[in-house]
Amino acid sequence: MDLDRPIPASAPIRQPSESALVVRRLLSRIGFYLFVVIVGAYFALPMVWLVFAPFDAHPTLTAAPPSAFTLGNFPDLLKDPYALPSLVNSVILAVATMVLVVAAAAPAAYALSRVRIPGRDLLLYVLLLFSSVVTGTAAMVPLFLLVFDLGLINTQVGVVLVLAGGLIPAGIFILKDFVDSMPKSYEESARVFGASSFQILRDIVLPYARPGLAVIAVWVVVNVWSNFLIPFILLRDPGQLPAAVVVYNFYTEGGQANLRLLSSFGLLYSIPVVAMYLFVNRRYGFRFYGGIKG
């Protein structure tokens, strides 16, 4: 950690006494530890409940080690009519959106990276602008009406299309980075040796872009898995709802929340995204792309 060092002897002008320096270093070290403890508690304390309550036979709102340790809260989730089906719904939404985004964004990214289409730079600019400006909250009225008019209200197809439309631009930018980093000479040599366009794409571009596709896939899944607003406004039928909305219903609908259900389900629902994030982060590092409908 960076603490003030003694000023070198060659600077005699404001040389403080030895003891004053020791006190200063001590104080700044104490201040540093105090800050770390407070910030650590700030970030840890709200999360502790999610670690302990799922394993407590009688959880309360207070975060405390389980008074009566149990794993029974998890099998009990089977008894709830919405908990586990909602996880299936989340998987369906996440996978369908992921397939759609990858299938649409990958060819678009390749074309934008390799072919100098007239107006390309303007197109990229407009895409970036719209993808960051048009958020789910700002566009909830027209999105609701559009999906309503298309007859897709209360269907998972509607949710998938809206989520994909919002995620594709950022997907294109991330993938374009990957294609841009691929030397053009690979494709040129393949062409010299008489490979067809299809062969070049399948045997050279696709393998090279595979890490990029994996990043996009996981990134879309994480986003859709966590998204609350879009399914919240577009789905009504309780049997269709993804876990994000069902968790919310657990603590807003009908009287006292069942904390055993809520805590164990909340943990089960949260683990996959944390695991996926850590996986992507470890392998590819942090990338700051935003513009996600939230």
């Binding site: 309360t60 678009a108 400006v133 566009a139 559009l146 594709i168 494709e187 898995w225 909340g266 935003g290």
Partner: protein, 308 residues
């Protein structure tokens, strides 16, 4: 311009457009075919809704009744109604405080402080703190919303327990402060990671020289570090401001209450448009939010271009 600048390669040997195209596996026509599905989806589900918002905002559209079948264009009535509505003024003010408190001061301030601390601090305590901050950012919002409801609960909340059974009704007495503290907790990771990346771009020799010359940590920060990463800080600030303006998560904790104290613009739009089904009015407010977003995004892109 390209999204992050810098990656547009200069055409080799002044190659003409067809020559460049032939190097790739695609003709221009093929490229258009490759772009079509993506542009179709973006056009219908991203660009069209934005433009439609602007139109709806000037109509008296409702989901049921006569106005549903034949919405009338009523000009700027929705906008004048909104601008004259104290509820809207309250909502805008609450949103500004929420953005200033949680994004500008909270996330950027704390995120930078953490990145600065982490710069040359190694060890398990550092890693644990970093993971905690990131996990707060990753866990889905409907889960963290309840974690904070529980944490701030008047009688059984962990915060009051930690303060010696203080029984302070945080969400009733300090609602806006509560969601500001919540959103700082929620979003600091992004600024921490981005500032960390920015600090890594500084040549260590600069700071070393300054230190040898007797500059204190504070002087190094003010005279060397902040001026060099100003661009990063500004882009970060614009992004988190835009996201916080559009953040729907406060709804999950307080639903805008008590007594509209946390009625941010997204919550206000949701209530008017999709609960009370005043779609025209809701769309007008949405259009105002879109314009705010557009303003932030245009500044962002300009800063980004200036930086490259």
């Amino acid at each position: 311009m390209s999204p992050r600048g810098a990656e547009l390669p200069a055409p080799p040997r002044g190659a003409s457009t067809p020559a460049e195209a032939s190097a790739a596996a695609l003709s221009t026509r093929g490229a258009v075919a490759f772009l079509t599905p993506a542009l179709l989806l973006i056009g219908v589900f991203l660009i069209f809704p934005a433009l439609w918002t602007l139109y709806l905002g000037i109509t008296d559209y409702r989901l049921t009744g006569i106005q549903a079948a034949q919405p009338q264009v009523i000009g700027l009535d929705n906008y004048t109604a909104a601008l004259g509505d104290p509820a809207f003024a309250n909502s805008l003010w609450v949103t500004v405080l929420y953005v200033l408190g949680s994004a500008v001061i909270g996330q950027l301030g704390l995120g930078f402080a953490l990145a600065w601390m982490f710069r040359r601090w190694q060890g398990p305590a550092r890693n644990a703190l970093e993971v905690l901050v990131i996990v707060a950012w990753i866990v889905p919002s409907s889960v963290v919303a309840f974690l904070w409801i529980a944490f701030l609960d008047t009688h059984n909340g962990t915060l009051n327990a930690a303060l010696g059974n203080a029984n302070i009704p945080w969400l009733f007495s300090w609602p806006l402060l509560s969601i500001i503290v919540f959103n700082t907790w929620r979003g600091t990771a992004f600024s921490m990671l981005l500032c960390g990346g920015a600090l890594n771009t500084l040549p260590p020799s600069h700071l070393e020289t300054a230190r040898l010359a007797g500059a204190s940590s504070w002087q190094q920060l003010r005279d060397i570090v902040l001026p060099s990463i100003r661009g990063h800080l500004l882009t970060n600030l614009l992004l988190i401001s835009l996201w916080t303006f559009n953040d729907f998560t406060p709804y999950l904790i307080t639903a805008g209450g008590p007594n509209f104290a946390t009625d941010t613009l997204p919550v206000y739009i949701f209530r008017n448009a999709l609960v009370n089904f005043q779609l025209g009015y809701g769309a007008a407010i949405s259009a105002i939010l879109l314009v705010i977003n557009l303003g932030i995004a245009l500044i962002y892109l300009r800063v980004l271009r200036a930086r490259n």
